[in-house]
């Protein structure tokens, strides 16, 4: 059949960024999110994987012992994915979650204040430095948080909850807008 219109639809498509001096919220491209699961939680496994993929802490984010997300803004072609799988396979299984997780960026002087309205994780810079990642509840929604800069974070959430999380963050940041 003619399939000209097999279009990708972003979970938060159409959400314009919310920008202010205090805090900015914006959706991130639905590029790729690869879930890496190794049989062991050893730190050398992690290092090996980073080495074979050639990626830093902002690309390969820790999820739990022996598990990471490899994240990027570009969708991966089947070949690119296969290549990664091949490289990683001796060390970890790869499960594609590119569609299952949605990313939101939050940044600005008040970003931590907004997030503190949702999460009990201590986001102080010395406790939660750039590159640090963890999963936590923001309000009622489990969210994976990565600090990407001194005042910027990336949030990753199950696709089904993305809209709710966006609305919640918008609500919590209203006073800074």
């Amino acid at each position: 059949m003619s399939v000209s219109a097999i279009e990708h639809r972003a979970a938060l498509g159409g959400k314009a960024p919310l920008i202010s001096t205090g805090v900015t919220l914006r959706t991130l491209p639905e590029g790729h999110v690869l879930h890496l699961l190794s049989a062991s939680a050893d730190s050398d496994v992690s290092a090996t994987i980073s080495a074979v993929l050639g990626c830093d802490a902002l690309t390969k984010r820790s999820v739990s012992p022996g598990q990471w997300f490899v994240v990027g803004d570009e969708p991966l072609s089947a070949a690119a994915l296969a290549d990664i799988v091949k490289k990683v396979k001796p060390h970890a299984e790869v499960v594609d979650q590119s569609h299952g997780r949605v990313r939101i960026a939050i940044a600005g002087a008040k970003a931590t204040s907004v997030l503190a309205k949702g999460t009990a994780a201590d986001l102080a810079l010395n406790v939660f430095p750039v590159g640090h990642a963890t999963t936590t509840l923001i309000g009622h929604i489990a969210t994976h948080i990565t600090r990407v800069s001194e005042d910027g974070f990336e949030l990753m959430v199950l696709r089904g909850f993305a809209e709710s999380l966006w609305e919640e963050l918008a609500e919590l940041s209203v006073e800074f807008r």
Partner: protein, 989 residues
């Protein structure tokens, strides 16, 4: 005579008038006023009515402990009953109403209750209103309820915003008086992460009504400077209007910040209240000390107040309590007030000091008459104090006064320190209940820890901060302050629990109208244990939680029982230190945002196709898709179900739980978590699996497909998706960590569609690149497929819930909508329709497929005809051993059967019970119940699945379906639970 505003003094701005109303009467206050101070400044002494006797009441305190001056503030959805006027800041346009009176505050009919008071003593209601029994609900109780209660809550929704916030610190300081400020400064200067909270609008605690100087500056200025310095430190957060209400495990403190309760027009973008959950490494309780009332007749008459409160009105708010004042004290602190009153030019009629020796030398140099060894047994007046009786050495004397200050000594405010258990202990030396200074994670300092005097408190705060930071290895130098001058340091004195010679009612708990005789009565009747006395008399159970009354009640109990207060002990301190609103505790969670919404990747597709949605857990699922002209949901559902069996339909099943299971031992793992075998499942095949709990009952079901040798794709039911994932993780991590198995939840990665019906293959083949003929892709096939000429890849499963030739196609979620659109387009010529969970349910009931209607946690495999699925050969699987028990194999268990009405024009519903034909409707005759039912357009009548005793051997039996709730009684027949295509020809074709 009444109270009035002084022309000068106080931390108020006389140039900024604020108008407000009290019971509709317009009044003017000024900026800096509390509602209570503004009312007093307007000469309004009568502020409320008490709970039981409706006694006229004024204000007795100037802070959080206020039991009397409760009023309803604001209007509409912002109506707040029981607001303490002492804690409510005045704002322009404030509307306040008095409570618990009818028809008016001045003339309150129920004040006649006072006349009946001999018959309304503690616990009287336990002794009467029993006859006749039927009158309780109809007469007595409504009367009691109308009389009881305090303010009236609104039924209107609240227009304002609330939120919650977490905070972390090295040191939390509760209380911003001298102690707290000294501690905060010490810790702040040392660079520690500090949070200082104080419940008042202005930080400073007692300093704000203090006339002493510190290092040559006034106490007020000292407070201001200190706060300014603290606020300039980036590592310190100062939260005023913030009450720490509870101390919880893990050193988490709950606090509520009244962000905009003082605003005429709250800004909509800012919350009115914010709940703080503060995680503190260490904390200091610097909550100060509470002055105790004295128990004499008429101690509740408007015009009688705590000495420290009078001092606060005088010094902080520039309000005089009256024109002629007396002070009744048991200790030196009463003289501080006396001194300040005289300084403000008020007429001090007398200082009545219960101590024979009088004040400590040098404490008082004023000119008032001092009555040493004197008491005030009774105060007189109705709605305002007119005179007091003085008793000295057996002589009585009446003095005309319009206000009386009382001081019975001080009790440290230790509330929070006991929220996690324990009780303070009585100290004879301190004449009060005291707490050890150091609790794990929380230490007391200042007046809360019996430190005396301003200088002592400053030093105690600084030292405590230093010590606690030391534990965290943060070095701090205790802040040093200049000399304190003009402070009267009151030593503790022996308490006087009851004033001799009382005639009138002497109140212990003001709000709940517990008077001294009630305490005696409780002891006489056997309720002398402090907890029983509390419950019997209700002392300490009012909105103030006994802040003023508890210690006095204990003293009285001790006297009545002839023991020491140490033997009586205290009641239990519990959150909330002061009451907290539902709004603050709920935060942003309310209304539509009570819980988050989880949306399917096909949500917008369903919207486009006109779906009606239904909440399923957090999901919104499409229930049916009405077409123009369809008037009832049944019309739509019948059409959808018929169309699926005739042509084809597409249903969104994305919300099924999906778990990818990999690792060397994945197959072994599945073999252990399912009761049926999985190890030998061939690659490219799906299998229905049954998961049991360890107790043998069915936990969940679903299909699992083997995509590669070491890669499986499991689906679970929607309801149990999260539970199954947690369970599998438990099995993998806790039970069998030696297995190499890795679990990834991929529920949200895939948009999954059921395409069912005889035309489904035709339709699918148009978008699937591979051959999916029956030969190439038989029943229970499972494989990765390429779609749209290689534009997309997905996973195809040939599984069927409907009993038709059917598939489930999973595509990456972002392409879900496009794929569904394409399928609808491809299926158009074949008559495809969208169908929702209702039609899905019809189709599955027709096929006798079970869901959690049947798998309700009390069924075992044999109950559902799944006996053969339980592996007899596997050595182990979850649930194996306890499944063997007698009760789980009892032939009398409820088993799955089908049910049809004898007359197809009649029907029944789920939740109806099954009785034998002609049997009497009793519980003993109950045979089981209808677990699922629907109208089957294919059978042409209602059909049902039921769980019925010995059901599987009763096919053909006539029964009655009994629904007493709806008065529906239907003659029916039990039958095989598969109503359509029992030979399964369609799904395999």
């Amino acid at each position: 005579m009444t109270s009035y505003r002084l022309d000068k003094g106080g931390l108020i701005d006389r140039s900024k008038p604020l108008s407000f109303t009290f019971d509709g009467k317009g009044m003017i206050g000024v900026e800096g006023d509390s509602l209570a101070s503004a009312l007093l400044a307007n000469g309004q002494m009568l502020l409320g009515r008490s709970f039981k006797y409706h006694r006229p009441r004024g204000v007795i305190s100037a802070g959080a402990s206020e039991p009397n001056a409760l009023m309803t503030v604001a209007q509409g959805g912002r109506t707040e009953p029981n607001t303490r006027a002492t804690m409510q800041e005045l704002y322009e346009g404030l509307v306040a109403q008095s409570q618990n009176r009818w028809p008016s505050l001045n003339i309150d009919i129920s004040s006649l209750n006072s006349l009946l008071s001999p018959f309304l003593s503690a616990g009287f209601y336990y002794k009467t209103f029993m006859w006749p029994a039927g009158l309780w609900e109809r007469l007595y109780e409504p009367l009691i309820r109308r009389a009881a209660g305090l303010g009236k809550a609104t039924y209107e929704a609240d227009p304002d915003r609330y939120e919650k916030c977490w905070a972390h610190c090295d040191l939390l300081i509760v209380g911003g008086g001298a102690t707290g400020l000294a501690a905060a400064l010490t810790a702040g200067r040392a660079g520690a992460r500090v949070i200082l909270v104080d419940e008042n609008a202005m930080i400073g605690g007692g300093l704000l009504s203090e006339t002493a100087t510190i290092g040559g500056v006034s106490a007020v200025e000292f407070a201001g400077r200190t706060v300014a310095e603290l606020e300039s430190l980036p590592n310190v957060q100062v939260l005023s209007r913030t009450t720490a209400f509870g101390w919880y495990d893990g050193n988490v403190f709950g606090a509520v910040e009244r962000v905009q309760k003082h605003a005429s027009e709250p800004r909509p973008e800012v919350p009115v209240e914010r709940l703080w959950r503060i995680v503190a490494k260490q904390a200091i309780l610097a909550a100060g000390a509470e002055e105790r009332p004295l128990i004499f007749g008429g101690n509740d008459i408007p015009g009688v107040m705590m000495a420290s409160a009078m001092r606060a009105y005088l010094n902080r708010y520039g309000v005089a309590p009256g024109k002629s004042v007396a002070v009744f004290t048991t200790n030196d602190s009463g003289y501080t007030l006396a001194r300040d009153l005289e300084k403000a030019g008020l007429r001090l009629v007398a200082i009545v000091d219960s101590r024979r020796s009088g004040a400590t030398a040098g404490v008082y140099e004023g000119s008032a008459r001092i009555i040493n060894g004197g008491f005030v047994p009774d105060a007189e007046g109705g709605k305002a104090l007119s005179s007091i009786t003085i008793l000295q050495d057996g002589r009585k004397e009446k003095l005309a006064v319009d206000s009386l200050a009382m001081s019975g000594g001080f009790s440290p405010v230790v509330h929070l320190a006991y929220h996690r258990g324990g009780r303070p202990e009585w100290s004879d030396a301190e004449a009060t209940f005291v707490a050890p200074e150091d609790h794990k994670g929380l230490s007391l300092a200042g007046a809360a820890a019996k430190a005396s005097g301003l200088a002592g408190c400053l030093e105690a705060g600084a030292r405590k901060a230093e010590a606690l930071l030391g534990k965290l290895e943060i070095k701090a130098d205790p802040a040093a302050f200049g000399a304190v001058e003009g402070d009267i340091v009151a030593a503790p004195t022996k308490p006087v629990w009851i004033i001799p010679g009382i005639k009138g009612k002497a109140f212990v708990d003001f709000q709940n109208d517990v008077h001294h005789r009630d305490i005696g009565l409780a002891v006489r009747e056997g309720y002398g244990h402090v907890e029983l006395a509390k419950r019997y008399t209700t002392n300490g159970m009012a909105t103030d939680q006994g802040k003023l009354s508890n210690v006095n009640a204990i003293g009285l109990l001790a006297e009545a029982r002839g023991v020491s207060p140490a033997d009586v002990g205290t009641t239990t301190f519990r959150p909330f230190y002061t009451p907290v609103s539902f709004g603050a505790l709920a935060g942003t969670s309310h209304g539509k945002h009570f819980q988050p919404v989880r949306k399917s990747p096909l949500h917008d597709w369903a919207v486009k196709n006109g779906a009606t949605f239904v909440e399923t857990g957090l999901w919104y699922r499409s229930a049916w898709f009405p077409l123009a002209g369809e008037k009832t949901w049944r019309e739509s559902v019948d059409r959808e179900a018929k169309n699926v069996r005739r042509n084809a339909g597409l249903c969104d099943v994305s919300m099924l739980g999906k778990i990818e299971i990999t690792g060397k031992d994945a197959a072994e793992f599945l073999d252990r978590v399912y009761c049926n075998a999985f190890r030998k499942l061939p690659v490219g095949k799906a299998r229905y699996g049954l998961m049991l709990r360890e107790d043998g009952f069915i936990f969940d079901d679903g299909t699992t497909s083997r995509l590669e040798d070491e890669r499986f794709f499991m689906t679970t039911t929607t309801a149990y998706a999260a539970g199954v994932m947690n369970h599998l993780e438990f099995c993998a991590q806790a039970l069998w960590p030696e297995l190499d198995v890795r679990l990834a939840s991929v529920t949200d990665q895939w948009a999954q569609m059921a395409i069912a019906g005889p035309k489904s293959r035709l339709i699918l083949q148009r978008i699937v690149d591979q051959d999916i003929s029956n030969e190439a892709f038989p029943f229970l096939g499972a494989k990765d497929v390429s779609l749209f000429g290689g534009k997309l890849s997905g996973r195809l499963f040939r599984i069927s819930f409907s009993g038709e030739l059917a598939y489930e196609l999973a595509v990456p979620a972002g392409y879900g909508e496009a794929a569904a659109d394409a399928l609808m387009e491809a299926g158009n010529e074949h008559g495809i329709c969208a169908y929702g969970v209702e039609a899905l349910s019809v189709l599955r009931i027709e096929k006798g497929h079970v869901t959690h209607n049947e798998i309700n946690g009390t069924v075992v495999p044999t109950d559902l005809g799944f006996g053969k699925m339980v592996s007899a050969t596997k050595v182990d699987f979850i649930g194996k051993r306890l499944l063997e028990r007698e009760g789980l194999n009892d032939p009398n268990r409820l088993q799955l059967v089908g049910v049809v009405p004898l007359d197809s024009g009649t029907s029944f519903r789920s939740g109806a019970h099954v009785l034998e034909k002609g049997a009497e409707a009793t519980l003993e005759n109950d045979q089981g119940y209808i677990s699922s039912s629907c109208y089957s357009p294919h059978v042409g009548s209602t059909i049902g699945l039921a769980l019925v005793k010995r059901g599987s051997s009763r096919h053909g039996e006539e029964v009655q379906v009994w629904n007493g709730l709806l008065n529906e009684f239907t003659a029916a027949r039990l039958c095989h639970p598969i109503f359509v295509d029992p030979a399964n020809e369609k799904l395999k074709g």
